[in-house]
Amino acid sequence: MMSRRVPSRGFAAGLAIVLAAAVVAATTGFLGVMPASSQAQVVQVRAAPSVPRDDPFAAFWNNVQPVDVALSAQNITRPMGGGTVAAVQLRAAHDGKRLYILSEWSDATQDAAIDTTTSFTDAAAVEFPAAGTTRIPSFCMGDPGAGVNIWHWKAAWQRDVDSGFATNRARYANMQVDLYPQDGDTTFQTGLAAGNPLSAQKHGSPVENLVAAQFGTLTNADVQDVGGVGRWKDGRWRVLFVRSLAGAEGSPSFAPGGKTNAAFAVWNGSDGQRDGIKSVSQFVDLQISGEKIVRKPSSFAPAIIAFAGIVGGLAVIAVFGVFAERRKRV
């Protein structure tokens, strides 16, 4: 039967990860880049009675204090690269039932097509320690003793959800083909026939739920229960990840009063970024609290009051004027 040649695993690999992490820590320190450290950075997840699920640019998020988390290039395993996005701006909330994480970063181009050999999609991810881990996993895709759960949003999947699955036919509308024999038989859409989730033409969500326990082990999770939406406006992506606080069996669960680690990554498709070629953070703390999000007074309020005052004043003057005029006539 078929078998794979894989790199030797176990102790050597674990050691390599630890060493590599040490090297990266030393290098980033040397370069003066302060990676997000779990001691230093906390993202507060406060409560709100309801959180808008469809619009990452909703005014609701103005009430949430953003936290900037530094990103750097992935330099530990091949393929290396990224580092083109310096930081993600994070906001988070919960409504007692669901966890909402909003990741925002700048990107001049929207890359949502995977329709040619050279086109790659923009993407963003959040990573948590996997359910049942007794120690903090390596933030680099976990390690054999402690895995990670990854929520991966793809601009291409967002486009699939919004306007349907697109292939190179959309780009080359005039492509002429006499016939596709056995068209409609998915046997010949090989990835699809093999059950590859990347080949699926319909997605319930633009966010893929994944697990990993070392480089190269990323695998689609059994339960796909992470929702979300990503929108691009004026050179910024905002991607909202949504999942129930209590995860499905095998997924990490969150609860008010609890704390978890979370790391973040983004990919710029037009830079050829995919896989390990990404801008990535280290773990920060997600502090899930029972505290409520305080609505900031609307920034329009003073203007409205002033406007109302002026209009009111003018009205009084006008009424006064009319009466004065009438009196003259009498």
Binding site: S3, A156, N196, L198
Partner: protein, 415 residues
Amino acid sequence: MPDVYNWQLGRPMTYRFREAHPKWQFAAVFNINRCIACQTCTMACKSTWTFSEGQEHMWWNNVETKPYGGYPHHWDVNTLKLLDKADPGGQKWDGRTATPAAPYGQFTGKTIFEAAAALGKTDEAIGYLPTDDEWTAPNIFEDTPRNRRESELQATSLPEHRTWFFYLQRICNHCTYPACLAACPRNAIYKRPEDGIVLIDEQRCRGYRKCVEQCPYKKPMFRSTTRVSEKCIACYPRIEGTDPISEGEPMETRCMSACVGKIRLQGLIEVGADGRWAVNPDNPLYYMVREEQVALPLYPQFGTEPNIYYIPPRWVPRPYLHQMFGPGADAAIERYAAPSRRLQAVLQLFRTTQRIVHRFEVVNGHKIGEMNVAGKTMELFNDTVVGFDRNGKEIVRQSVMEPLHDRGPKYLNTI
């Protein structure tokens, strides 16, 4: 990174994984001299494996006109340029050191793996992603010769034509040290231990296209309808004998068995535990590649140890052939132009059966003539080559002289 032994380079080289060899290795010999560029092979593959939506640009088998043609365009020149950048002027062979373990001498330049390190790349190998434009017009520059201007034309004469082109038939080389496999960060590409066939796991591939980028032969291809990569699968059901018409016996692939020009012979090479080919001069592929050294690997300097071997075209200027097939090209042409009795017989095996010939025997026949080749007299004998399958069963018998059938006056002008 471990060192592995690459016999085609006559030296160890660095590779991502340590040596681990299959029991048998899928391999073939393509006789460039005979190809008529009919593209039957190309269509045999297309109509079997790549006829569906999203595969419009995919030609797992393609035949291109050298020196200008290429699919994707200029795939080889692009890679040679990258190598030259990594090792300016250093891509050389030391042909004096030829031994059985290093039949072409030693390559002293850099492989695609070593070049990546030399350029400070963090990839396993140098490479690039061809654009959509480069995947179009798969037969670009068809039949376009070098030196085709009128002022350059001369009467053609061997050993080297001044105005020349030739056809290069290409499939995945099912390399011993595949760059595609090394490049895949997910280990979604594997080399089968039973036959050395290199496959992409269509379930695990995530469409990162590192294989497309780093295969120097540009044989993995990306498919937009499934968003993952695909490549030549060496028609593995036929190699396994699981294709219904193979009746359980290993059978040559579609592109091989369809070859109209009878240029292709494909089989399986037995590989020893140490990774060296088990000595077997009675296997037709072993005999042509290792004994006669009449068939050579394509761009061996890339370092992947490709397993499709070519009998180089006789009429092509030698420097071009040295670049493409290494320093063995001169000797290969010499042996092909005036073949030994045994080689002459083995050359008759091409396209006589779809079954894989594991062993051959030659039964001597009578002398049928003499020829003058490059000032030397060559005798021609009507020997008979007999091919046997892996169970020792005779599957083919073919004499050097094609049998002549006289239809007689009664059947003149009839069909």
